[in-house]
């Protein structure tokens, strides 16, 4: 039986645009804006002030709480200011502005090779936390928190997410092709931290070259299994991936650790390797720039905090672009303009020449959304309830289990904005819960 999950859709993946473009370095930025809110959880607290000289890789903001992450300077230079800057969520957020002096000087103890096999689990965890690593698949959950399950949760499997099910994006694909050792070593560190658990690497069938390469490289590690998965969106969602690979269902409202599992993105694994084996904090990542709105789709190695505009220029942004999306087209955030600093979670930018206005019609109960919902919900009912502003009844229809993957909206022949309606419902339900 093919390993997969129930529901899901098969949109055209458009990966042909950029999957054969090798990773190239983005133009070095003149100035970077390191946002203090690049992860889920409390915002980071700056430890530098305007006027300070910083080196590349130097800590500039420390975690603001348990679920939070540190930030490091991606360049060497001078801190100019700390004030609200445009942010990919739409509302300005405090960011540290650093002027690049172009010298690329590393901070002390940074970029020094280390033998991670000799370090203890606690030391490894500390290194990961200090490196400010967050989930690079887009969820940006602080990695060290994920790797520290409470002692009562028995973890017996780690999954490396190389699925990259979002259409257009090829950053993970290129990373696996070009730097398989970084990824694999990083994954081994993760396995070790979790107590030497069995590892699975999930790769979708539309990346056969990456699958073959990873399989070959992983041959020497008996506790790593590379799994080819049929192409289906949203296979990369944690719960669906666990279901597909291990046939375990994360309980409603639960976390992967409830079924003894930890899922990490391939990018995260590479960053873990950098942190543990090279003492390099998370200051750069791979990002795809693609879509029919750019002349030359490409995969870039970008600095965290650098502005998007020059990168788009380099890729040849076309006149008359109508939509600019951070992340993939299924779950990504559309932006009002390109003057946004990039953050740890940016796995890609999609520029679209066309964004037709969809006039929603009344639900015709075609049940496509119910059939395809990977979470087994009834999006059409939720959508109708939301439209009738009966938000609290949405809780009875398990609105909080929705992962906002966008399958229902994608498939809806009536063009209903279901995800958005569900989002309002979730917000109202949570508000009501909080009041109680």
């Amino acid at each position: 039986m093919a390993r997969t999950f129930k529901g899901g859709v098969h949109p055209h993946d458009y990966k042909e645009l950029s999957k054969d473009r090798p990773i190239e370095d983005a133009p070095a930025p003149d100035v970077v804006f390191v946002s203090l809110r690049q992860h889920i959880g409390a915002p980071s607290k700056p430890v530098v002030k305007p006027g300070d000289e910083v080196k590349k890789g130097q800590l500039i903001a420390e975690p603001g709480g348990f679920v939070s992450a540190a930030c490091h300077s991606p360049v060497s230079g001078k801190v100019k200011s700390i004030k609200p800057r445009p942010h990919m969520m739409g509302t300005p957020v405090d960011a540290i502005e650093i002027e690049n002096d172009g010298r690329e000087e590393w901070a002390e103890e940074c970029n020094v090779p280390a033998d991670w096999e000799k370090l203890s689990v606690d030391e490894l965890k500390k290194k990961i936390a200090a490196a400010g690593i967050v989930g690079l698949g887009g969820a940006t959950f602080p990695t060290h928190v994920k790797l520290s399950p409470p002692p009562d949760k028995k973890i017996d499997a780690a999954i490396l997410n190389g699925v990259e099910c979002e259409p257009y994006l090829t950053a993970d694909h290129r990373l696996m092709l070009e730097q398989p050792d970084r990824v694999l070593e990083g994954f081994r560190i993760i396995q070790r931290i979790l107590g030497g658990v069995k590892g699975y690497i999930g790769i979708e069938a539309n990346k056969p070259d990456a699958y073959m390469l990873m399989k070959e490289k992983a041959m020497k590690y008996p506790d790593i299994e590379v799994v080819m998965l049929p192409v289906k969106y949203p296979q990369g969602a944690e719960k669906q991936l666990i279901k597909a690979i291990l046939d375990r269902e994360v309980p409603s409202g639960g976390l992967p650790m409830d079924v003894g599992c930890v899922v990490q993105n391939v990018g995260t694994a590479a960053a873990v390797y950098d942190a543990c084996a090279r003492n390099v904090p998370l200051i750069e990542r791979i990002m795809t720039v693609t879509g029919d709105g750019v002349e030359r789709p490409a995969n870039y190695r970008i600095r965290i905090g650098q502005m998007l505009t020059p990168i788009l220029e380099r890729s040849g942004l076309k006149e008359g672009v109508r939509k600019l999306i951070f992340g993939g087209p299924m779950m990504g955030l559309a932006q009002a303009g390109p003057d946004i600093p990039l953050a740890k979670g940016n796995s890609g930018v999609v520029a679209m020449m066309e964004a037709p206005l969809f006039e929603p019609r009344m639900c015709i109960r075609c049940s496509r959304c119910v059939d395809h919902c990977p979470m087994g919900l009834e999006p059409s009912v939720l959508s109708l309830l939301s439209e009738a502003r009966r938000y609290l009844e949405m809780a009875e229809h398990d609105v909080l289990d929705c992962i906002e993957c966008g399958v229902c909206t994608y498939i809806c022949p009536a063009r209903r904005p279901i995800v958005q309606q569900i989002k309002i419902g979730k917000q109202k339900v949570l508000e009501a819960r909080k009041k109680k």
Binding site: M362, L384, L385, E387, A388, R390
Partner: protein, 216 residues
């Protein structure tokens, strides 16, 4: 009485001549309490119970006290012409009294035993008294007395009809409540929202139930 006959009586009031959709009995609670499926179900259960009890009690009273026939207890006690003891003109007043008392009992019992249901039914519980379906079933049961060969056959027919009518009422209520729950989050044209559309719905339900017409 054969099993077929019983089945025919039951099926007739259950679907073919459904009290609500074909005979227009019990419309007030049908439209009043059918907003939520839960309420509809408890109301239906209450009606089934009261109908059954009403059929039982009125059958006794009718046979032994009201009908001017040899089974009449007064006639047995006092003799003379059985027709002289014909009290059938008291049907209305006696039956309604019986039903009123029954409903009162049910109400008290519910209030004690299940306050949530009591609250859900609210003002409609007293309205069971004025639910014409219940008086209607008692009155329609009278027709069985003419043809019945004996008391037990008569009683059985009454009970079957009472049960069938009650369950038929509940089925109609449940279907209606399901539809109304759905209509609540559908943009029905404003003038028709609420009761008017419910009437249209009942009309089309009656239309659909015509599929059972002349089945037996």
């Amino acid at each position: 009485m054969s099993g077929t006959e019983a089945f025919i009586i039951f099926f007739n009031v259950l679907l073919i001549n459904n009290f609500v959709l074909a005979k227009f009995l019990g419309l007030c609670p049908f439209f009043g309490v059918s907003k939520r499926t839960g309420d509809a179900l408890s109301m239906g259960a209450a009606v089934v119970f009261v109908m059954f009890m009403a059929s039982l009690v009125t059958a006794f009273i009718n046979w032994f006290f009201l009908l001017g026939h040899p089974g009449n207890l007064f006639y047995r006690a006092m003799g003379g012409d059985p027709a002289a003891y014909d009290m059938t003109f008291l049907y209305t007043i006696v039956y309604i009294l019986v039903i009123a008392v029954l409903v009162q009992l049910v109400e008290m019992a519910l209030m004690k035993l299940s306050p949530p249901i009591y609250r859900a039914l609210g003002i409609y519980l007293p309205l069971i008294t004025t639910n014409c379906a219940i008086l209607g079933v008692a009155l329609l049961n009278n027709d069985f007395a003419v043809e019945a060969s004996g008391f037990w056959v008569y009683l059985a027919k009454c009970l079957i009809q009472g049960l069938g009518a009650g369950i038929g009422f509940t089925i109609a209520m449940l279907l209606m409540s399901g539809i109304r729950e759905r209509l609540e989050y559908i943009p029905v044209p404003k003038p028709f929202r609420g009761i008017p559309i419910s009437f249209i719905v009942a009309g089309i339900m009656a239309l659909a139930f015509m599929g059972f017409a002349s089945m037996i």
